[in-house]
Amino acid sequence: NAGVTQTPKFRVLKTGQSMTLLCAQDMNHEYMYWYRQDPGMGLRLIHYSVGEGTTAKGEVPDGYNVSRLKKQNFLLGLESAAPSQTSVYFCASSYSRRSHIRTEAFFGQGTRLTVV
């Protein structure tokens, strides 16, 4: 049982380049989240999804897009990377209809992204 897997783990981008971060979960979870973590700022929610085909904006959505075409995958895209997007990105998932009492989120290992 892999849990939540993020790809890639590290990436360096040049300003203006685009990239997609992939998050995959094998727990049949309904909810999936993308966060960014910056020093002294905690984890801030970028976008989230409450089910296949649905997405919503979080606290800091600007400059990012997401898609959830399949229940197990949640993609985070940067169309034109900026140095301000240098951060560690975490994907998380939670809530299975079969084990609804388990309310906590499970996290991926994080992706360290540097934009130069």
């Binding site: 989240y33 984890l43 560690v88 998380a92 906590e104 989120a105």
Partner: protein, 119 residues
């Protein structure tokens, strides 16, 4: 929107001693979930303990326990018999229950408390 506040950016504790990390939150809801997550240098986010708001009894997991004060909207974490492996960032988090409107599924984090354990 819900907010979570951790007022202690850094704390330290002697090995084998007890330390309490503070967390307060702001919400208008009566039913919700609260969590403490640990993030060691490996960067992995690890669930330490969870508390359902409808439960009056404070949650306990081995050396970790919480003091949940619903009226005061306070959720502190107590670590007893501190060990070197407890050194990490600790995040308090709040989650709304399902079906209470826009944003109700969001998991909101505090800014974290960095805990150092002194041998």
């Amino acid at each position: 929107a819900q907010t979570v506040t951790q007022s202690q950016p850094e704390m330290s504790v002697q090995e084998a001693e007890t330390v309490t990390l503070s967390c307060t939150y702001d919400t208008s809801e009566s039913d919700y979930y609260l969590f403490w997550y640990k993030q060691p240098p490996s960067r992995q986010m690890i669930l330490v303990i969870r508390q359902e708001a409808y439960k009056q009894q404070n949650a306990t997991e081995n050396r970790f326990s919480v003091n949940f004060q619903k009226a005061a909207k306070s959720f502190s974490l107590k670590i007893s018999d501190s060990q070197l492996g407890d050194a990490a960032m600790y995040f308090c988090a709040y989650r709304s229950p399902r079906g209470t409107g826009a944003g109700s599924y969001q998991l909101t984090f505090g800014k974290g408390t960095k805990l150092s354990v002194i041998p």
